[in-house]
Symmetry: D2
Subunit: 336 residues, 4 copies
């Protein structure tokens, strides 16, 4: 088991997928310990600050990487297993950013109305009790929330030579903002360029489905991932797997098109894994599937489609790569 470390200095963060030099080279099966900054690049240090005044919109969501994976070629599948995602500061930050989020007009859903108030919430994190403290800003309402850390941004270099701001999720991954990208989950990404060029960022100490206000509990993270490769296995869109479910994604607008893509992906995957034809798989997915929103605030919206793995009987996705990475994660934890 080879374990790498990647802890970028501030000026080493990237804000795009594609077109950047690798900062680390690894081999399939390796493990990477990495640190990530929060979505604001650490620039928001007090609830009295306005994120819109201290942050440049084109420099939100700094990512750690890219990481070059030896042997990865276009058409392959990159498997990224989250061994650990752990807040590295004592607080997380959330904000109502002007003209961003689902319950406000935005630069894409443009109206003539005034923006909502720009309000910032600081959450104290208690890593022993694994909780975050919510405190209302305009009343004395307070609540302890369980942590459920995740990475909002995980992706690879896009196809076709494109370079995309990290804020936009698409086929290459990116800012999908799904709470499913948590410890114990494996994310599957298509490889579009030699080396794949994986990058990770935008940790959330927790986030609801849809990320309706546009931000989760934004937080710098110390994370550990195991990375593997399935030759020739590239999915059309990012997929996920945990111990209970296979999951597909669609990231596009409008939201029904994101839903359609995620569901078609799940039908296709179920058909592949069970040998059923598309229509029989469509029927089964329709009765057993779950369909939570991931984000309805980013430049593309993301929907998730989930199927319980017991519905697949004995079939295993991608030759059992999730199971093997799960075991590697156990081995890593034991070794520490």
């Amino acid at each position: 088991m080879t374990v790498h470390e990647l802890r970028p200095a501030f000026e080493q963060y990237n804000y795009v997928f594609g077109g950047r030099e690798a900062q680390l080279a690894i081999r399939p099966g390796d493990i990477v310990e990495l640190s990530t900054e929060d979505c604001f690049g650490g620039r928001v240090t007090s609830p009295a600050q306005k994120p819109s005044e201290v942050c440049d919109f084109n420099e939100l969501n700094p990512v750690t990487g890219p990481i070059h994976v030896e042997g990865a070629e276009p058409g392959d599948l990159l498997a990224v297993h989250f061994i650990d995602i752990r807040p590295s500061r004592g607080h997380a930050i959330s904000a109502a950013f002007p003209f961003f989020g689902a319950l406000t007009s935005t630069h894409e859903t443009a109206t003539l109305q005034d923006p909502l108030e720009e309000r910032v919430w600081f959450y104290d994190l208690d890593l022993d009790r694994w909780t975050a403290s919510f405190r209302a800003r305009n009343s004395d309402y307070a609540l302890e929330l369980p942590l459920d850390p995740m990475h909002g941004v995980v992706g690879v270099a896009p196809a076709g030579g494109e370079v995309r701001l990290v804020v936009t999720p698409s086929k290459h991954g990116g800012n999908m903002d799904t709470p499913e990208a948590r410890t114990g989950t494996t994310l599957y990404l298509p490889v579009n360029v030699p080396g794949a060029l994986l990058a990770i960022g935008d940790g959330h100490a927790r986030q609801g489905e849809g990320e309706v206000i546009g931000t989760g509990l934004e937080c710098a993270m110390d994370s550990v991932v195991a990375v593997d490769l399935v030759k020739g296995g590239a999915p059309d869109w990012p997929r996920l797997e945990d111990d209970m479910h296979i999951m597909t994604t669609g990231s596009v607008r409008p939201l029904e098109d994101a839903y359609r893509i995620s569901q078609k992906e799940l039908v296709d995957w179920t058909s592949d894994l069970t040998g059923m034809d598309a229509l029989d798989a469509y029927q089964l997915v329709s009765q057993l599937g779950l369909a939570p929103a991931a984000n309805v605030c980013d430049p593309n919206y993301t929907m998730i489609a989930k199927l319980p793995k017991w519905a697949l009987r004995e079939a295993e996705a991608y030759g059992g790569v999730h199971r093997r990475l799960r075991a590697a994660a156990e081995e890593y934890r034991t070794a520490r």
Copy 2:
């Protein structure tokens, strides 16, 4: 505890909300045992039949009712608690109906392509083991699915004198097709006309989130509901409550607008129940909320927004009507 029975003959089913005479009059607090037909009106009796050939599109989803609730006035809230939803036939039926469902073009999302094959699945139901048997039509794949019965259609007469086909969900309820409308849940509807005129139908032995193929395990049901009234409490859109969550709905197109409505409703409700202002409630909902699709196939799409009730601390919705109806349900069950 007054218990009524409503078991319509075939010709007594209705296909619209609004504009129909009440078939039963009850008082707040009463219980109704009722039978409902399946979405096809019982016309599909073999997997060899094509639903599109034996059913008239304007006579899908027959409903039982309407039921007149004494004292219900526009502006009131009608609470409908599902005490029991039990399949009354030995099988349930699902179908890929031509130009209906999320993974096909439809009459609203019109293309020039051919329809998908019209295929029908019959599921044997085992009420002892509480399972349904899925059998693929084009291969030998089979699977036992757990039952999770629900009503796809529950609603009242619309506002403004409108009469709507049951197939279209909107502010008055209707064909929301959410699996949350299950035993143990209370559905809250706005009263728009004197007596409310509640009607119920479209039972599903189970259904995935989004109902992507356009049908669940369609099934005639023997159901029991308890009905109550909260004077002056009418919500803008239907809401639900079970023991763990408060839930809101939005039923409109496109899907992001259904999402927006459901989330705004949940923000407003959370604000009402906690005393927080809208922006603080928006923040909390964003971090704790769930956002599953209900249907993405009907003339309006339905999204659900859910908040765990522990986030409300001691607050109870509508003066604890769900808790009281839960208790009445226990009393009813004990009495049988």
Copy 3:
């Protein structure tokens, strides 16, 4: 040539399509002189008033009718030719209504933002010069606009026993709000119930494409229509024809679905009229078609698809009914 008159008293206006008794019976080929109220029911009498305070949202857009057309049966086509549309007051009214219009959040596209200011504009009409005077409210900018009167609402009783508020356009017509419904144009509607039950309202002295603020130059009208019937010719969606173009409509959300419907209708119609198959007609429409927005503010959005009639060579729609109604209009004008 039989000419009828229909001038409702205030309490005779209707606010729904369907479920109302006919106020006049005519025969195919007859002409009707009718008066219509403005969308506010005449309740707004000064720019200092707020329409939202003097109007009930469920009583906007009063319609004149319904008119029973002898011999009209479900499956027939009703042709309504606009012989004249003439403002009957010296002014027209427009307004930015709270949470209505395309550049504000609405009850369907819900946000937490404050509404825009509710502002009212009165336009003086000069019927000799055929102009309306625009005067900015917050500066001294003024402009004379040419009149181009139209009816925003024209429709028949819906199918399936539905009763719909006039504000919602759909397959039965209704509040399509297209400037194409002007003098010299024939509107084709499907007949859904015996007698068709035609109703007309919501005159605009003029309106831009899309009706972006949600109101045109709202105006009571004295209008004259000629009505005819084509047995068995019902289109799926309302269509229009003038001397230069055939036109189709789609009224649904989201806007791309309204576009898809209108374009598919135009492809189908072009195919019918030219004998080309669907794909060849699709090609021709793609190169010659026009695609203006009608409304992007009502509960359903309406798109128009237009094809120049020279592209049809010698073909005539519906056996030349537009040409005959045009001639009848000339005869009527000559006779007055």
Copy 4:
């Protein structure tokens, strides 16, 4: 008057905006004579070929350029005036490309249906009569269409260091596919990088509004443009001006959001040019504006908003740059 020539060899075409070296450097006020390839890169040479088999989807719409404009800095406005757009081959090509176009499911609007037939149409062009010959493939229907040449793709390097496939229109321009980009029109683009890096391609001999089948009369072109710069004048989204109208664009999904952006841009521009506040400008645009679709087939949809220039009274956009470029075009034509 400095006139440049830019006639790329095949291997010099680009397929992205951003990240490419300039192929020509010019100064504001200069004129460029340039040649462009058709959207298929000239690979389709017979109607018997399938474009999907001879073309790589990531190499559609080759562009000529980029062109470096001296002195152009982020925040400036680049004005591109079309002096001439002239087909350079004797034929134009259109096609129904699999899973592309508005009346088929696509990779974004995903269904399980089969694609439409892939059919190709060749149009003979007659540059003397200025017509193109449409011939149906499956019947003997034929028609002469007037030419109305335009460029589907015109854009600059995007902001934020992004590199985008030319197929996707956005704030930097790109594949907007509007028939308004014709001879006599000036297109205004925001400058995002030093030198602007203008590129042009995707000529259509003509195209309907919406480009519903996904292709126009695709054609290699000999074009002439005059380029100018307005310091500090960058619009948020591309705008256009001809002798009769000012025009704005929005390119995003869903279509109603493209409409909202284009309309808000027109309201803002009208407000700037007339001194009216936003609400008064909103009112005027609502009554006088036109709202044609540009494309409803590309990865982002494009809507156009148009206002007749007489509504602006004496105001001139950007200090009269369109008028000056119009004069320069006359001078150029006279000089040839």
